[in-house]
């Protein structure tokens, strides 16, 4: 790709960006949200036209104006949000749009053979007859990869493929990537995870504000340099310092024998005021489900929950909110935000009642005032409180979700993957926010699949496996090896 430029109203998304990908290499593309990674890849995939610049495949200039054209050129995309039909099985998804047939009839045997051939080649074992909706995220991702390969893709773009995977699943993914590379497939690997780059990438390109800042061989590009190139300034410490929990701090949240089989099987723990407890574990271990059962998103079968020493009965989310529990969900778009509503409407959604005047009408001026306060305090980058949340970047959307929960009087904050898929700068701001919440006496539970984050941001680490807490580490004791061992059942 040479000299690619693209403008959106008010934003120059890409400015003269050039990129080279060789056959059989993995090129990592990193950059903060809004740096232009997604736009660049959408142009390559034919989902958006470029304003300027040209694209060459195998040395000859090509026109990619539709996704179909990209596919014919052997360019395959694996988006963060998968494009699978949930009701179809693996085979049907892999051959979708390309079904082998006899006349008007589908040739199911040929379809199966073709799908298994690709899967065997990749060394993937999958249940073939099960609805895709019932497979794990990792398995669905493998179907995506197989689907792209069955169309003979020679260039594969993966957008944050490891974001939803556990450590072990990520290892599997890297095995598959190694096989692809050996076959001569060129891979563009978009990621926010510094620590995996040296493992997976041959070269690394950093994008910032629509410019390709720097490209280096991965071995010669240490994480500090990458981060400096991404943010344009040096971030001193990756994680801010945790203030110690005051001796004798009261218990903010106490959970005993919480159960909601099959995902949650008898969970007991306490969080003190000012304490951050990290929940680590593999995907599917039941961490999210524990938070859902505490907050009222799901109704627990049995168990006791005390907030600030008071027994609470949480049967629906509004009960949890009334009890002072804020649940910041993992999936912003499907659970945290109403994308078609404004920043103001999203921030006040859980507490609109506080803005209703005596005339029973919502006081918009008061709402705007509160919204502006959070826009300033959390540094939400939005042109105005009336901007639709849809138009904000991921990090800023996450800040809107946080503002929604800061608006109330919650004493307990349950964070589910608070920094997934957001840029380094926003991450640091969210860490600082968690710390200031803890300073003010809140009790915090943080579920995260990012091990450094768990180790860096928790006073205590609970490892979840099979819907129960299997190990607990104090801050000093938690090492990556020990936590992974407990999570995988190796210890």
């Amino acid at each position: 790709m040479r000299g690619i430029g693209k403008s959106f109203p008010g934003v120059r998304a890409l400015d003269d960006v050039s990129l080279q990908l060789y056959a059989g290499e993995v090129l990592a593309l990193v950059g903060e949200n809004g740096a232009g990674k997604s736009t660049l890849m959408k142009i390559l995939a034919g989902a958006q036209p470029a304003d300027t610049g040209r694209i060459f495949v195998d040395g000859s200039a090509v026109r990619i104006d539709t996704p179909g054209a990209a596919e014919r050129l052997g360019i395959g995309m694996i988006y963060q949000e998968f494009n699978l039909v949930p009701a179809l099985n693996a085979v049907e998804n892999i051959v979708l749009g390309n079904e082998p047939h006899h006349g008007i009839f589908l040739d199911e045997r040929a379809a199966r053979e073709r799908a298994s051939a690709v899967l065997v080649e990749l060394g993937i074992a999958l249940p073939l007859d099960v609805e895709t909706a019932r497979l794990s995220v990792a398995q669905q991702q493998m179907i995506e990869i197989a689907k792209v390969l069955s169309k003979r893709a020679r260039i594969v773009v993966m957008d944050e493929p490891s974001a939803a995977l556990s450590e072990r699943e990520t290892d599997r993914l890297f095995d598959i990537i190694a096989r692809l590379r050996a076959r001569g497939v060129g891979i563009v690997y978009i990621s926010h995870r510094m620590e995996e780059l040296p493992r997976v990438a041959d070269r690394i390109t950093v994008l910032r504000d629509g410019h390709a800042i720097e490209t280096r061989v991965a071995k010669e590009f240490p994480a500090d340099d990458i981060i400096r190139a991404m943010v344009g300034r040096r971030l001193d410490a990756h994680f801010p310092e945790l203030p110690p929990v005051a001796a004798g701090a009261p218990v903010a949240l106490s959970v005993r024998n919480l159960a909601r089989p099959p995902a949650v099987n008898g969970v007991s723990f306490e969080v003190r005021s000012g304490e951050i407890v990290g929940f680590s574990g593999l995907v599917g271990a039941g961490r999210t489900e524990i938070l859902r059962a505490i907050s009222g998103a799901d109704v627990p079968l049995h168990g006791e929950v005390d907030v600030g020493g008071q027994r609470v009965r949480v049967l629906q989310p509004s009960d949890g909110i009334a009890a002072g529990i804020a649940f910041i969900t993992e999936d912003r778009k499907s659970q945290g935000l109403v994308l078609g509503m404004t920043v103001r409407e999203n921030i006040t959604l859980a507490h609109v009642g506080e803005f209703v005047g005596r005339d029973l009408l919502v006081n918009r001026a008061k709402e705007t005032q509160a919204t502006n306060h959070f826009i300033a305090e959390l540094r939400i980058r939005t042109p105005s409180p009336e901007q639709l949340v849809r138009n904000l970047s991921g990090g800023n959307q996450q800040k809107v979700v946080l503002a929604k929960w800061l608006l109330g009087h919650a004493r307990v904050f349950l964070f589910d993957e608070p920094t997934r898929g957001i840029d380094v700068g926003s991450k640091a701001e969210i860490y600082n926010l968690m710390i200031s919440l803890a300073r003010n006496g809140a009790g915090i539970v943080m579920v995260s699949s990012d091990l450094p984050e768990i180790l860096g941001m928790s006073h205590r680490v609970c490892v979840v496996r099979g819907g129960a807490i299997v190990r607990e580490f104090l801050r000093g004791e938690a090492t990556p090896d020990a936590v992974i061992a407990a999570a995988t059942g190796a210890a």
């Binding site: 109203p9 907050s295 998103a297 629906q316 989310p317 509004s318 949890g320 909110i321 009334a322 649940f327 969900t329 499907s334 659970q335 945290g336 935000l337 109403v338 994308l339 078609g340 509503m341 409407e345 959604l349 859980a350 609109v352 009642g353 209703v356 029973l360 009408l361 919502v362 705007t368 502006n372 306060h373 826009i375 300033a376 305090e377 042109p383 105005s384 409180p385 009336e386 901007q387 929604k404």
Partner: protein, 350 residues
């Protein structure tokens, strides 16, 4: 944190954004009005001056009032990404029930009118509640549950009326259906009468619009239409809000049933079982409310109903026969929605 420094320009930009939106809104309204006036003048020439006669305009408003009131209730339902197919048959059911009730009472005058209206509203609300039950409890699609209610309500109204219109014995309703609002005043001022249903429509559009845009309930309606799970996790009582929108729709149907009953001086099982329901939905969609939920307005529904009403009226004045009228109406509804979508895509690009 330098709150004040950031706050100031933020508030300014919020004001700017709002005034920009407001300007875009008024541009649209004024554009639509100018367009309407131009078209109206042209049509008026063709119709030899009958179209823009005050009497004709009032006539169009009266004709659209029934569908428009149904459309108001329907707008709430559609913004939650639902649909209510039962409203037409609820008009006939409430009409029949009210007529039977009024004839069974031994008092008359205003108390009878108020009591009868209350019965109609109660029946409509109850039917709306029943509509919502399987939707909120079992997550069934409202298309099916309200389709079932449509059939049940039609059957019920034929059964309890034995298939015949039930004439009202009391004369108390006459003024409401065909009478004029403050008729003495309008006649003293030598202007044309404003029929009562038009006043009902104006009041219901105004109340509905305030309810939808200015209250907590309205906010929740949009939120749950835009993202039900996010709304639920934010503590919105999704079941209650969903139930309420179907109840509102049923109440609107009850009011229309009342107005029709008063107009015809009888409760008939045939009223409202024609194209009324479909035209009310058409008015909502032509008015810019998204069938996918999360977006829409009641003022838009009013203009949608007005457009459809004017079309009928024009075609009548130009002596277009009724079969052709339907074809034209269908084409215009499609065109209106296509134009609106094109405009939105254009705006999204620039």
């Amino acid at each position: 944190m330098a709150d004040e420094q950031i706050q100031e320009p933020l508030e300014a930009s919020a004001r700017q954004e709002r005034s920009k939106r407001l300007r875009a809104y008024w541009l649209r309204v004024i554009g639509a009005l100018v367009g309407l006036v131009v078209v109206a003048v042209v049509i008026n020439v063709f119709a030899k001056g009958t179209f823009l006669a005050w009497g004709n305009i009032v006539q169009v408003l009266r004709q659209i009032s029934y569908n428009c009131i149904m459309g108001v209730g329907q707008t709430f339902v559609i913004i939650t990404a639902g649909i209510d197919l039962s409203i037409g048959s609820l008009v006939s059911l409430t009409g029949v029930v009210m007529a039977l009730f009024a004839n069974a009472m031994h008092f008359g005058g205003l108390p009878l009118v108020v009591a009868t209206l209350a019965v109609g509203i109660a029946v409509g609300a109850l039917a709306g509640y029943v509509n919502a039950l399987p939707v909120v409890r079992l997550n069934l699609p409202p298309f099916i549950t309200t389709l079932a209610m449509m059939m049940i309500a039609v059957g019920l109204s034929y059964k309890i009326s034995h298939g015949r219109p039930i004439p009202l014995q009391s004369g108390a309703f006459q003024g409401i259906g065909i009478g004029a609002f403050l008729g003495g005043l309008t006649r003293a001022m030598h202007v044309h009468d404003i029929p009562n249903p038009v006043i009902w429509m104006i009041v219901i559009v105004a109340v509905g619009s305030i309810l939808l845009t200015k209250t907590r309930f309205g906010r929740y309606v949009f939120a749950l239409g835009g993202n039900e799970e996010a709304a639920r996790l934010a503590g919105v009582n999704v079941r209650r809000i969903k139930t309420l929108v179907y109840v509102i729709s049923g109440v609107c149907a009850g009011i229309v049933g009342f107005l029709y009953m008063a107009l015809f001086s009888s409760g008939s099982p045939q009223t409202g079982t024609g194209d009324e329901m479909l035209e009310a939905i058409a008015a909502v969609v032509v008015g810019g409310t998204s069938l996918m939920g999360g977006r829409g307005s009641i003022v838009g529904t009013f203009f949608g109903a007005l457009l459809i009403g004017m079309l009928y009226n024009v075609m009548n004045l130009l002596n277009v026969e009724s079969y052709t009228q339907k074809i034209v109406l269908g084409a215009v509804i499609l065109l209106a929605v296509v134009l609106d979508e094109t405009r939105k895509r254009y705006l999204a690009k620039t």
